[in-house]
């Protein structure tokens, strides 16, 4: 990580934290299905996919910890809720199965666009990690596209629940591509090959035809997200934060 100046290290740190928090918080929300998913097989699948996300978060937190001389566990569990930088999409609770699938579909497709672009990052460790994560996300994409389709074809109740969840999450989903404070630096240095807004447009161009193909209604036009799409969280996330920090907080100096 040497060779980067202080400003660039800060910018890279902001990007890594945003991505890590996305994966970490979503992994925790969806691991709440463990034991209560609609069918046994899906229970195992959902728990496994959620663990994958925590694994990706771990890799990103470790890269960040190396960059800043911090500790990955401290970054993951040692922050107050307002210091997390996940997108607003991840502020919502688990809710019902259709809601979970709607969020996962929106997130997985957005994450795929982000990782594809990062595979071309000038920062080699990040490019390599993105390539590695993409291989695992291939299955996630297939799995949640499959569920999206199933819920649209599963009768009026599943279809209606899915549509209302997509509509409720639509604006907050844009925040996965909220501009980063130090984005100009990331673009100049090539750590980001393309701007968040370029990526967002690519994501929209990819999922809009899929919705049409499945007979889902067109989503409303979504304006470019504001930077606070990653800094404002709310009560549901505070509750989840209390859950996932509970064990670490019970004995702060314990080693694992």
């Amino acid at each position: 990580m040497t060779g980067l100046d202080a400003a660039t290290r800060g910018a890279l740190g902001e990007l890594l934290l945003a991505m890590a928090d996305d994966e970490f918080v979503l992994g925790f929300w969806d691991s709440e299905w463990t034991g209560i998913a609609p069918i046994l097989e899906e229970d195992v699948a959902m728990s496994s996919v959620s663990q994958d996300e925590i694994g990706h978060a771990k890799a990103l937190y470790e890269m960040l910890a190396m960059l800043t001389g911090d500790d990955a566990d401290r970054i993951a569990f040692g922050r107050r809720p307002d210091a997390y930088r996940h997108a607003a999409l991840m502020n919502h609770p688990r809710t019902d199965w259709a809601f979970t699938i709607a969020r996962r579909y929106l997130y997985e497709t957005a994450d795929a666009v982000r990782l594809e672009s990062l595979a071309g990052s000038s920062h080699e460790p990040l490019a390599n990690l993105a390539i590695k994560m993409r291989r695992e996300e291939t299955y996630h994409l297939l799995h949640f596209d499959l569920w999206l389709r199933r819920l649209t074809e599963g009768g009026s109740e599943s279809r209606d629940r899915l549509i209302s969840a997509l509509q409720e999450l639509w604006t907050d989903a844009q925040a996965v591509f909220a501009p980063l404070v130090a984005e100009a630096n990331l673009l100049t240095t090539g750590i980001l090959a393309e701007s968040m807004e370029t990526l967002r447009q690519r994501w929209l161009a990819r999922i809009t035809p899929r919705f049409a193909e499945l007979g889902l209604p067109a989503m409303p036009g979504a304006p470019q997200p504001h930077a606070d799409g990653r800094s404002l969280h709310g009560a549901d996330f505070s509750w989840l934060h209390g859950e996932f920090t509970m064990v670490a907080d019970s004995e702060p100096r314990a080693s694992w």
Binding site: E41, A45, Y139
Partner: protein
């Protein structure tokens, strides 16, 4: 279990070239979801090189004891059914080889 669920038998290969061995089964409404669940149950720990996912109702089963376990002595149909230990000894003597019989010969 949903009304439309089927049972799928999953076979796994641990390493390239190994035989496919029955791992267990999953329930799923169709091949696509069965493939996902087989991956989760029999491959998520990187323990499999390859999986075969077969609808249980596509399997032709044979379990008739009259065909598989007929009552007469069938030992002559097994390779070990022919006792050749003594024939081997005789052959060795004739050839003038005095080596002790191998483990393989003894197992006959």
């Amino acid at each position: 279990m949903g009304v439309k669920d089927k049972v799928w038998e999953v076979f796994r290969q641990e390493a390239e070239g190994d035989p496919m061995i029955h791992g267990g089964s999953v329930r799923a409404p169709d091949e696509e979801l069965a493939t996902h669940y087989a991956r989760e149950f029999y491959g998520r720990r990187q323990e499999s090189e390859r999986l075969w996912i077969v609808a249980r109702d596509a399997i032709t089963e044979l379990s008739d004891p009259d065909l598989l376990k007929p009552p007469f002595d069938r030992s002559f149909k097994r390779p070990g059914g022919f006792l050749i230990k003594h024939k081997l000894e005789t052959a060795r003597q004739r050839a003038g080889v005095s080596d002790a019989p191998s483990q393989e010969d003894l197992s006959e």
